[in-house]
Amino acid sequence: MISTAKKYSLLALLSLGSISIMALLYLWSENRMQKENPFIRRYTPLSAVKTAEITLDNPYYYIAGQSGASIFLANRKAPLYVTEIDTLLRTRTEHKIELDRYDFPFRSTEVRIASPHFYVYDGLVPVIYKGLLSDFKGSVVVNDKTFFTGAVIMDSLSVAIRGQKQGTGENLLGLLSLQKGTRTQYHPELLEKQIDGLFDTSGTMNFSEDLKRFVYVYYYRNQYIVADYGLNLKARGRTIDTTSKAKLKIVRIESSGDRKLAAPPLTVNLNSTVISNLLFINSGLMGRYEIPEVWKVASIVDVYDLNKQLYLLSFYIYDIPGSGKMRNFFADRTAVYAVIGKHLHKYSFGKPIKNQLMNTRVKD
């Protein structure tokens, strides 16, 4: 028989051991969840909750940007009309953009709002118009031979663009200045080729005003790129899924020389938006220990911290029966706005996200 005193110490030792084991497991798990997440999502309740909605006229709207207490929607079918909606989603105002020139063969016109300006551009013409939100009158600011397939306005003087290398047709990122007489500076080192350099490097582009950082999120691999205002590489971050190499089947059409996708691609990151230090990614891949049924009725948004390149949490944006899934989304400091079919839904941030938002802006 063990003496009672010995039993006491044995019990104390066991308790102390178990408590420290649990504490260590917790710390270790936390650390790995954020830094090298093995594709386990964390759905922290009340991260983002639907607080408002408004019905639109048709399903072709996309969110062009924000200014003050209004968000602005543009429309794929009516490129020169902008709908202004207050952030409570109560009142709508229609604006018509007037341009100084219309004599271009427009093919894919985009509207972007970056207060106090609006921009209309078509990278296949190529042309960029700029004007003030106060009168919606735009005039041509760039019309040279700089073609592009994607653009993000960084400020009133510079635009980050995705162009194509001459000859190979591979994607490359560049800095296009809106000042007269300056040439576009290309930064071919930013996008890393895996298969063909065109499809596999495709992705979505964003700019964080607070951080003065450009963010590029690949569609087909678990990576994003953070670059500074001059498009110098600052970091390469990893999204939580495991697709590090793009899974694409690309064929070359002999007669036209075009390249096409031969099989439906495995899209990792469907869409992205950035506010301050937070990156929101609408993911296309289900993680471990998730319920497949939820994916049939909701879009999943993962939130990352751009400063530390950490995964923070995930939340749902629910589909609307009959209208399908979220098409595009946009974040401000208080909420994410999502276009779902003919509807605009607002998901306001709760504490879990608000607590992660950086308060201070980086100085210019």
């Binding site: 019990l11 504490a23 093995p38 964390r42 009340l46 471990r288 998730e290 319920i291």
Partner: protein
């Protein structure tokens, strides 16, 4: 049934049976809803990374400790292990309470309907029971038949 036939019995026997009942019940309800159980640990603010190991580990521990407790020669070892596992569970709950209170409990069965605070108290009671059983094994407990709590379960 020994417990039912004597009016008084040793405390470590009673505690052992209580633990067997608790562990077997909890483990069986986890097995029956295993996928859900794994998902809950995966969503837990602690341990997410180890969901796979923890989910199997807890089951194995609960069943094997129940076995140890069922054999009198191994009962003391079983009580020490039960005590340790219970302290582990309790510290887990303590962490949950302090770091995030909205995660569903992955304890299985009716225990799942307990709130975290009730669960903490429930667990502490079990920790104390195990400690008492280990420290004073030959203390007799007088059990009135009417309030015999596991009459049907053990029969």
């Amino acid at each position: 049934m020994k417990i039912l036939s004597t009016a008084s019995t040793k405390i470590h026997v009673v505690v052992s049976y209580l633990y067997i009942l608790l562990f077997v019940y909890a483990a069986v309800s986890k097995v029956l809803d295993f996928e859900n159980f794994q998902a809950q640990i995966g969503q837990s603010p602690l341990l997410s990374i180890f969901a796979e190991y923890v989910s199997y580990g807890v089951l194995i521990l609960e069943f094997s400790i129940a076995l140890l407790l069922a054999f009198p020669p191994l009962r003391t070892a079983g009580l020490y292990m039960a005590f340790t596992l219970m302290v582990l569970f309790t510290s887990y709950i303590y962490l949950i309470l302090n770091y995030s209170a909205f995660v569903p409990c992955s304890c299985g069965g009716i225990l799942e309907h307990m709130g975290w605070k009730e669960h903490l108290i429930f667990n502490i009671v079990f920790v104390i029971l195990a400690a008492v059983a280990i420290l004073f094994p030959s203390t007799s407990m007088h059990i009135r038949r009417k309030s015999q709590p596991f009459k049907t379960s053990l029969s």
